[in-house]
């Protein structure tokens, strides 16, 4: 008789099984478009009062979650905007947990005071992901419009004291890239995991282009990606990754590869869905289509539609035949956000991938040493 308790492996197992049976194993609930921060790369935030009126009610969110649970949903991400600005946030969290969901929260951390930490302790989520935008007030002011450094760091400490699993999510742009060393140091001092990304999607959902997001030029983004890999990977894992990249770089000197039949499969629209603050279902929150309306047609019909329409998406031939494809992070959401469709390969992603590949190949050629900071990013 067996009983296992390995959450990450189990998550992979459930998603693989979900993919075979078309089950929505994980869902993202974007509880609000409102936020107390003003980050340039945000793809959700809307200011107008009319937007707040269109947000789903507590009962609507819990109703959708209940339907999703009946279809097999296990993991829920509560995100925003800033989900903690909703007065009913803890009611939604508690309700979703009672349905048998494992709930993770995305928050900017600025609203986690003693009372909020106490409420999290009473009803703990699986994890709280806190977006850390910098380690200086000046960085916070530039990035978010508020000097919130202490509030956010206090929030992290309070959650840790309350026994909550915390991870830092870091989005790197022109506004905070210089503070990346400090962010990595802070993660180490706080003893929390960190997930950093130097690639920023063009915020097309709110009608803005890539330029307005203050994203880094592809080469700088690549340098930070490599620095982050050095930080997060063991020396051996980094060496192996660098070796793989060197091999791909060597192969790309030759002819173009044949057209790949094997698409890169992400979970969006296969085992995962996203419901926006105004009730639209998307495969992924970074996409604008396909879209379904679960409040009108019911969760199950909306999910079936999203699965069907996502399955028809194929990446551009240029990506599928690209000899660099094994080094690339392209996905349907990136392609549509960057190019407006699926016919052209996104130039920014090509340039960033090439730069990452060559930096890693150089590291492999020079012999790799583990670094304690991101000094090579400058």
């Amino acid at each position: 008789m067996t009983i296992n308790r390995e959450e990450p492996i189990f998550s992979t197992y459930l998603h693989e099984k979900g993919a075979r049976f078309g089950i929505p194993i994980s869902g993202n609930f974007e509880l609000t478009a409102g936020c107390n921060f003003r980050c340039p790369m945000c793809y959700v935030r809307e200011d107008s009062a009319s937007c707040r009126e269109k947000e789903l009610t507590t009962a609507q969110w819990l109703g959708l979650a209940e339907e999703a649970v009946r279809q097999g949903m296990v993991f829920a991400l509560l995100t925003g905007g800033e989900p903690l600005i909703r007065r009913d946030f803890f009611e939604i969290l508690r309700g979703m947990k009672r349905l048998g969901l494992l709930v993770t929260i995305n928050t900017n951390g600025s609203l986690i005071d003693r009372e909020a930490a106490m409420r999290f302790a009473e009803d703990p989520p699986l994890r709280v992901n806190i977006s850390l935008y910098g380690t200086e007030d000046s960085t916070y002011l530039r990035m978010c419009g508020q000097p919130c450094r202490e509030k956010v760091l206090d929030g992290i400490r309070l959650l840790k004291q309350a026994g909550i699993d915390v991870r830092l999510n870091v989005s790197l742009t022109e506004e905070n890239a210089d503070d990346f060393d400090g962010i990595l140091r802070t993660a180490r001092e706080l003893g929390v995991h960190i997930k950093a990304s130097a690639y920023m999607y063009p915020p097309v959902r709110v009608g803005k282009d890539a330029a307005s997001s203050c994203r880094l030029d592809p080469d700088r983004a690549a340098a930070l990606t490599v620095a982050y890999d050095r930080f997060r990977l063991s020396e051996e894992s980094f060496r192996l990754r660098a070796g793989r990249m060197k091999e791909i770089a060597r192969r790309t000197d030759g002819a173009a590869a044949g057209l790949s039949k094997r698409e890169k499969k992400c979970r969006a629209g296969r085992t995962g869905f996203w419901i926006t603050w105004d009730g639209r279902m998307l495969p992924c929150g970074l996409m604008t289509a396909p879209v379904a309306y679960p409040l009108k047609v019911g969760f199950t019909a909306a999910w079936e539609q999203i699965k069907r329409e996502t399955a028809r998406i194929t990446l551009p031939d240029g990506c599928r035949s690209c000899p660099k494809r094994d080094a690339c992070f392209i996905c349907a959401a990136i392609c549509s956000a960057e190019t407006g469709g699926y016919r052209r390969s996104p130039e920014y992603v090509c340039r960033m991938t090439e730069s990452v590949m060559h930096r890693m190949a150089d590291a492999a050629a020079c012999g790799v040493t583990q670094r304690e900071n991101a000094e090579e990013t400058r």
Binding site: M1, T2, I3, R5, E7, K17, G18, I23, V74, I164
Partner: protein, 86 residues
Amino acid sequence: MKIKKELIKREIAGDTILIPIGKTIADSSGLFLLNEQGAFLWDIIPAAETEEELTEALLTEYEVDRETAEKDVREFLDRLREMSIL
């Protein structure tokens, strides 16, 4: 027998899993996968007072010999106790 933790049993794609809710999640950080006999036992544990009752139930429900049933029940309960579920 008293189950100490708050866990919800769910069926996902033919598997039976236990999902921690309430405060249980803070000291579980994961899911529990039950096989068919484990799922059967889980449902009757709260009403059972002894290991023998569980063994008898297993013998009635499944075609197993007494020795195997006793061993399976003991191992299952031991695992639950190790994880402070029971």
